[in-house]
Point group: D3
Chain length 283, copies 6
């Protein structure tokens, strides 16, 4: 169960409205790696956590924090939209600033949300739940989380570079710092789990059931051998259970597929050389 | 540019048709972490790679391999659908096996694809490009890749557990082994990049521009302190640039938001205590 | 900012696992009118609220409560999935109960979420943000909210009818009661706003700028006049600003459209009677 | 069955082309609350109507009218796109009007639809059927309809404010008036149904099966008590079946969740303190 | 503008309810090539038609007819859902027919639509506007239409094969016949346009601006030369403007890509061999 | 299985960066009829091909070529984005060129992909698999393919018209030529299949099972008879199996639908004239 307090986790107040920037900032609110993604992802991972109460608690801690980040961004965007223009195009042409603004802002910020933030990304695409994962395997999921925080921090720094508004920069410096912590946190949690298990997910699948001969082989499917100089092409494998090999000319190990003709009742293409009355027998 | 050969990378031939299993197997073909995802993700990361030819080559190697996995799965699914039933429901009721089959298969496998595989997941949801990321920052993206291979291998092992078909298991044992390699590969590539840079993405954003005081603090937003015992709550941070702290009672640092009234031309709710003719002045 | 406590708002514990029912219950978690929808909708309406602090507070109260409902449903679904079967189809055929279960459950509950709830609906379709609205006009939005609570309660009662599990029914009886409250709440809030404004949204658009002659006329576009007996076809209009009329044979008031030919550079169909070298002049 | 006549329901002819406005106007054609939404929603509600012929007829009347609105908007948009520019960016830079136009228009209006309207919204996002509801319960659905007409009219008035084109304003004044009628119509139909049933949807679910003690209680989950002054926090409930209460400090009534460990065959995270060979028994 | 009459275009009455079949039949109502697709596609093509009134009229004729098919299918599905079961799973296990039904039906047909049809496909995926095209070039679009009617008729025949219900078969025999007509119609319209123009779309793009040397060459990118025996590999081209060639070993004609490093402000991966302070100059 | 070589199939190098054009060019990379669509469509058609090895080989030839086109476009877009600006809006206002650029580019090209191409269209909408079809019936699918190449070439010519960059035009002239070939190819393949079968898809459904009396009748559902002058309204049908008729006043042949009331347990609207306790018996 949740309680809400009115104060924001950190300041979210721009110096000036900027509806074009409001559109861009939507990316880290409702985009693929925005705050809604991490909030929902961590909460569902926590709720689905079976045993392992330490991790459940940690996931709910951070998921709850991310809700506060959603709130900060929504608040900031609404203020960046203060008095967003709904003028006629001709005026925009006379006034280059107005023209640039109206060309670059998202019209839905006026028409649909009435100067409010939306749970969408910077292209106006709605957030959707396929951005998240809660697999039941925490090592897998913590890797998803480390990725989300890495992509998220990267996006926030790019947004930081593209504004001079001190209020906006102040808020972003907070989010960047929290993403620093959260990357560190997932690295720490991953290290813990990798020490308990093997590094390959899932750790519980028996080695003998996987095709060992291709389990540590790097295959060179793109002409050129620059990739041979990587750590992944020689030496001990990262899971300490094998040795990397470099296969410079990988060969097929499987059949040339030949599918059976379809039964008549699915009305696929008749086989060549057969009439429709005289189809080959179904195998 | 690509060339195709007809032989599969590995065997993909079931012992018996099984249209219910065909539906499930779609997950690792066209699902969030299926083979289409990794193929597209690695190829776009390679094509977008600016400099760093070793990584570009490696990405194109593995992206090209994943196309072969898409092909194997599509071929397997088509064969699992051989002679899939399109019978009347009454018959299905008389015959429990038929009933279970018809209740559990995806009707689109007959109606839409005529016993062929689809680029969809096991719920029939179409693959979409928001499953992928190519951010231009390789450390971020390699973390995405490690996650994709972890989720993918996890899903394949679950599918392995739910069939007794030797042909299917044989193919899955190959995919599981390749996912072992690919997890190892991304771990190796991540290690390389982390040694060159700092571990926090992006490495190039100046420390002094982020809010240092919250950059290493774990905040306890969910009641209970089980999370305090984790590696993330004390000790040196993973990036070696700070020390973890545990904040047992995190307090807000920001304002209570109060938004300006909207201008009249967006027709938002009139403020209480004002008539529609007599709106408060816009600030 | 939010705080989380571990206790659920109400009991969420089934008597027995039931993975088929788990699939159905997803509808009111991640469906069009599920708990994620109302949580996100109310929170964004609150965050976007300009002035009108009473409504902002109320929206954040109820949005925060809905997060607790998301949590209850996720918890219930995870338990309904306890030990969900991943057996071979042949076994399912021998055992009708197993067959019915495996035919009716969502395979992603095993393959993707590892026996956890997903932010998806009962067809496996992911939640997306276009399910929500925060328009900046509270009367419009409270109508959206009343609809969401009406559709939501309707769906929960249908789910109540299709189980005999006492634990599930107990939880649903709580959700049904809260939806009763929430329908009442939105009706009350709507009444408040309608008394302050006119009932037509937005109240602030000048009457003289709309085409008055069609503002209260019911038009009979489907043959048959059963619709004439409704309240909407005669008497004072609900906004008290006009009188309903019934137009039994509505006639067009507009032009027959005739579009200009496209300029050559868009390569649309050449006009008939013209060669491609000799196109008609662009108007 | 439908018949079509060529005349538009009302004039749809702009004074001048304006491709930037064409993009915006797409919102009320193919957006969440655009004319395609209401056309499809009303027709499906009519077709699914079981008994209650008066309502079926009425729904088909208005659904059929909305098809005419789709036609008017498509026609208007095509004309606003007359001769839309496909010039080189450099030219656009020399000519601020051209630059503003090209920055603000949707490139798909040239590349994809060749100066034609699209069934998309103002962000270019395609219309989809999850925008609609036909639940089988008419009181629930009429509330959905009242909401759709409220959001729709709000969006049209915002579009009216952002143009000076007399032809466009003329058409919008017609749509605004029809939305006035349609809001009135749904209010009238809702009143009819609420008088026959109770106001809470569905009316047919037995009171004794819902958790009465929380059916009229407003819960204060967001700090601060501004919400206590609302109509929803005291007095008789709107359904006349209870009395509103204000719960200033709502407490949890449910368990602290503790999920069972997953069975080994789903390969979730091993429990801490157990090896992978030695998992705890499944309950 | 449209008028509606209550009579269906053709009978739509099943002999018996069959909720599993109702789910399947959704494919040709709300699927990729269902009746909503063709209705919307033809209407938008008609509304966007610039000049060429014969084609505009024809498109509106057939688009309007398709609305009647949507209506027939919605009606049929609602009747197939009469009394669809919402029983407990245990009962389903005792009764194999019930079990098969409940495993195979779409739960949203009860929970969401209350025994009504939905604008979704047989996997429960909602119809969306990206299924349609109205490009402004009628020859291109008529090819889209011929495809839609071909896929549509194929799907309906597959549905015909999977039922023994005479009422359903009767309705499908009507739809199959109309699809026969509509395939013929688009073939006729295509022939008309191809005789006026060249067969390649668009006909108006100057030959000299395309790279002539590859305009009629079949390239053998998949090992094996079975494709050489096709009509496309030798002889006069279908547009009568060239001769097919077979290129058995196609070679690259382009550069090996080498992208410039990114500017520092996007925080992409630092180049290897450079420190973050010492990045290579941007070209 | 696939092999990749580093050389592009054809030159893909712009004279100058142009981030606005990069956004537009995305349409033919990741749009509805872009190169990802045809690559995936042809490969899945090939992989699902049952028998008919000539066609399977041909499909895999061309599907593999389309992957090279995806690569060329991704490479071109990355170069068009070289040094794309991330400046403050105020600067943009001072400099009209910069303003036009920043208003017209896709912000995700900086924030999300770090100056790389995305698998999205020109509106930023992600590619999805519902753009493709592999039905198992090759004549149906080749019509889909001819449509895709027609729409695709149309879009590329429109893009050609809107740039003066010689490098871009050079690449597009190659793609236009290949689309010429591919349109010719599908026309040739269609002719082959139509000569073997009848022209109506599927050829294998028995004539006597379709409602013959409406199989060749053009129905005039939109007032006005311009459509009567088309080839489709008179003369021999294109499949040589009937004669076109023109039905100037098509009449309904079906029932007026009247649905049964819903059972009580779905809680639909109570019937008028019945109380909720006293519902009519279910038929």
């Amino acid at each position: 169960m949740f309680y809400h307090i009115k104060d924001l986790q950190y300041n979210a107040k721009p110096d000036h409205p900027d509806p074009v920037y409001a559109k861009k900032l939507q990316e880290v609110l409702g985009g693929q790696f925005g705050e809604i993604t991490v909030a929902m992802q961590y909460l569902f991972q926590g709720w689905n956590c079976r045993g392992n109460e330490k991790y459940r608690d940690m996931l709910l801690d951070i998921g709850t924090e991310e809700l506060a980040h959603v709130e900060m961004l929504a608040t900031m965007i609404a203020q960046l939209l203060d008095n967003a223009p709904v003028e006629k195009q001709e005026k925009a042409a006379e006034d280059p600033l107005l023209g640039a603004v109206m060309g670059g802002m998202n019209p839905q910020h006026v028409i649909v949300s009435g100067l409010g933030a939306q749970p969408n990304d910077s292209a106006g695409y709605p957030w959707n739940a396929r951005y998240t994962i809660a697999s039941g395997n925490l090592l897998a999921d913590f890797r998803a989380n480390l990725n989300a925080e890495s992509q998220g921090r990267l996006q926030v720094t790019r947004l930081y570079e593209s504004t001079t508004d001190h209020g906006v920069k102040d808020m972003l410096s907070f989010l960047i710092a929290r993403d620093t912590m959260h990357q560190n946190q997932w690295m720490a949690a991953i290290e813990e789990l990798e020490q308990q298990q093997t590094a390959v997910v899932p750790a519980t699948f028996p080695k003998e059931k996987e095709k060992q001969e291709v389990a540590y082989s790097f295959m060179n499917f793109s002409e050129g051998t620059q990739s041979q100089s990587g750590r992944w092409a020689a030496g001990k494998s990262m899971d300490n259970m094998g040795a990397f090999e470099y296969d410079s000319d990988p060969q097929p190990m499987g059949q040339i597929p030949a599918l059976n003709p379809a039964p008549a009742y699915v009305h696929n293409t008749p086989l060549m050389g057969f009439t429709k009355e005289n189809q080959p027998p179904v195998v």
